[in-house]
Symmetry: C2
Subunit: 481 residues, 2 copies
């Protein structure tokens, strides 16, 4: 019965697939060429080698991120993009200090730790206290007010790999708001089990939100509210194997104590910025198909997978289109490399403010690594659906599942350009993404050139078919909740 | 023709397999029981969890290694071993300090580095110098005297995984004597590409020999000879991905400069020791079958794979024999857990001196990780061969290849007990061993309980058949060169 219902749904959907209104045969033929050129091209891989070798990590607000902008602007010029520009904005500058953690009881054990983004600092000599373990985020939420006074909280969880990355959503609250909730209950420090999915002994950083947990619970103990934030306490991530070790120590039943030294600091304002370049449209240059990634990275690796990959996928895809159609597609292809995504999507916010009045037709962001794309979903107006189907048909030979999901599109940097713009998501395989995400292991050697090239091909095809078109992709339906 | 020749060789070898002189059917039946109990037992895994959780790293000469000895002696008592004792000896105590490395030109890049064992120290502020890359050990050897004056040498190589671990032999000189050779040519510091075989961003430590390279080349530049040693210079290992990055930077052709901070120090004498326990022989207690591993570890991980695994394999195998034969086998089974193996085989040396006059019949050491055993080789007198064949037949169902190689047996801690003692080697699969070896990643979570249990089964079978026997396994033939 269930299978029969599915079959009927497929039959009902079939007319849309069988008789697309657009695009025309010439546009599809060009898309097919772009696909085949994309998988054979090493432009993305060479750009990524250059970015990670010649610039390296690009922490938001730092001089390293500025060097990344210079690199990107120069490469865009060299690739033949026009209107290349950098749009700067201010961000809070937070930098890492000393970071060590050790179990002091029941037995000495050194742990691998790294400060979470926007963590508070311990004194230089560190803090030493009893540790309270929470097996889940819900257990932390349920802990009584004041119950963590003078203690260090260890936030454990059970994140495992998922192809769609959904376990990051399921367990992410541990990092996003766990530290501020622990602080609100009196904790003097927090260590989380890294949001990681393999057994490498590296810790996963990532930003922590000291604002949005505030209404949830009354603030107790020594914790303070400063303005709209809870005052950050020292908050670090332990490597997954160290999380296992903590579990084993707690399983023995006695008290566990920890010494924690984390001395990051806010250094006032830093400068971040977005880098923009275009392939101007040949007949409707004011209509924009936006593709991009984010240029900033965390500081532990070289930002190859997060999000050097997204940066070079967008650049290489636009370059293929430029080479294939020197006069440009009908509309403008705009490549936007966002700054300061990792510390709160600030590049997306700045872009949204500056470019609010422009005619964005469709937008896509690559920010889930360098592994192959396995499905395409959309969030476009009905008028755009036939073009999405055409994209899916051209890309099916690359192992990319067509779907009829039209409530799933967008990226963290795209939300600010407005809810009415059409969005596509080219879903990358995330099975191994959280092995590397926000760790020292996010380096160039982790990227497979063939999988990266498949991404370039998919972005070239989708970008071309949207840009060489006159159909409307917006207003988009509401995103899936 | 080639296949036919192989077939004939097998036929010619067959009589040895078909008509073993020993052991008798009862001994084989017991061995078969021990095999099946071994693969079903979690004793080794539980011991390893305990050692790595309750003790952790066990650097030679430190208080942590002493806690390891106490742990081992208590566990041996609890397992019912007799004559449990600790035999202490002095070792040089070397401890790690601050360790950072960064490329300063052509672009800033932070590198993951760790000091090699017995490295010299930089000033606290570090050293900064031009780096000279050597693509191979031979290139370093060929460098002219004085050519590294004032420079940092980067010793690159191309080690890849091998099942038998032979690539460690092929490329090991880079670590063993590369730093002293570089020092002899005037280098003020050395970084090697880690002797590692995966892409994890962890550095592989390991001891460096400042003595045995000396005769090779005249000492030049600022380097000094002190006694029989070249004075240690700062010597570190970069992670494999950082080695790749260095290669990429050198491929651009310009000068590469590095700042290196390594502040380890020798702290005078420390105490190490061997831990010994026995299952006394029921009728020939003075004849000894020795099995063991080494108790010390490097300090970066928790010494789970190197060599906590060997420690617990020997302990669990002896425990199985004790349970199966409460009166003991004919000969004594002696479990020896060596101290200070990592810094130069000092536990083996001490054991050899103290126990030189005793009747060692056969010896085996497990020191190649926790993965499955895939073949057995021997180095025993002709009289021992039929028993080796019987061991191989009992173990073949565990996927362990029988071989007729009788020139391959022993371990680094066994050499000092004399060349005449029979030796077996139960070869573990080393394909992934050098992913973890001497790194922070050497932790309990890397151990597969089923593979560890297979090891326990194999040691129980071989130990039992050697101990419940009266055949001579020595004098052993010369080892294979």
């Amino acid at each position: 019965m269930f299978k029969r219902a599915l079959f009927l749904a497929a039959v009902l959907a079939a007319p849309v697939w069988a008789a697309p209104v657009a695009p025309d045969a010439a546009a599809v033929a060009t898309a097919t060429k772009l696909r085949d050129q994309g998988v054979a091209s090493d432009t993305g891989y060479q750009l990524l080698e250059s970015l990670t070798t010649e610039v390296g990590q690009r922490l938001a607000g730092t001089e390293a991120e500025a060097r990344g902008r210079d690199w990107a602007a120069k490469k865009m010029q060299a690739l033949g993009f026009t209107n290349v520009r950098i749009e700067e904005f201010k961000v809070p500058l937070w930098v890492r200090g000393v970071e060590t953690a050790e179990v002091t009881a029941p037995t000495p054990q050194r742990l691998v730790v790294t400060a979470l983004g926007h963590s508070g600092a311990t004194p230089a000599a560190g803090i030493e206290a009893e540790v309270v373990r929470f097996a889940s985020f819900d257990d932390l939420v349920a802990a009584p007010a004041g119950s963590l006074n003078g203690k260090i909280a260890f936030l454990d969880h059970y994140m495992k790999p998922t192809q769609d990355g959904s376990s990051y959503g399921a367990f992410g609250a541990v990092r996003f708001v766990g530290p501020s909730i622990a602080a609100s209950k009196g904790a003097i420090g927090v260590v989380i089990r890294s949001l990681g999915t393999n057994d490498a002994r590296v810790a996963h950083t990532g930003v922590t939100d000291w604002e949005n947990a505030l209404p949830a619970v009354p603030v107790t103990g020594g914790s303070k509210v400063v303005g709209a934030k809870i005052a950050p306490i020292p908050a670090g991530a332990l490597s997954v194997p160290d999380g296992d070790l903590m579990r084993q120590l707690f399983a023995r039943g006695g008290p566990v104590r920890m010494k924690l030294v984390l001395t990051p600091a806010f250094k006032g304002d830093g400068v971040s910025g977005n880098v923009i370049g275009e392939i101007p449209g040949r007949s409707a240059p004011d209509e924009i198909v936006l593709i991009g990634g984010h240029l900033d990275s965390w500081d532990l690796g070289t930002g190859a997978v997060d999000d050097g990959a997204g940066v070079v996928i967008a650049m290489a895809a636009a370059k293929l289109i430029k080479a294939q159609a020197p006069q440009g597609p009908r509309r403008t292809v705009r490549v936007v490399l966002f700054g300061a995504e990792e510390i709160g999507g600030m590049g997306g916010d700045d872009y949204g403010k500056r470019h609010a009045g422009e005619k964005h037709v469709l937008a896509m962001e690559s920010d889930f690594g360098a592994d192959r794309i396995w499905k395409i979903t959309s969030r476009v107006a009905d008028t755009g659906i036939p073009t999405v189907r055409a994209m899916q048909r051209v890309l099916a030979p690359l192992g990319i599942n067509p779907t009829t999901d039209n409530a799933n599109g967008g990226g963290s940097d795209l939300a600010p350009i407005g809810p009415t713009v059409g969005m596509l998501t080219l879903h990358q395989d995330g099975t191994h993404y959280f092995d590397l995400h926000h760790t020292p292991d996010d380096t160039f050697d982790k990227v497979d050139p063939a999988q990266l090239a498949q991404n370039v091909a998919a972005y070239a095809v989708t970008t071309w078919l949207a840009a060489d078109s006159d159909v409307a992709f917006g207003p988009a339906p509401a995103p899936k909740k």
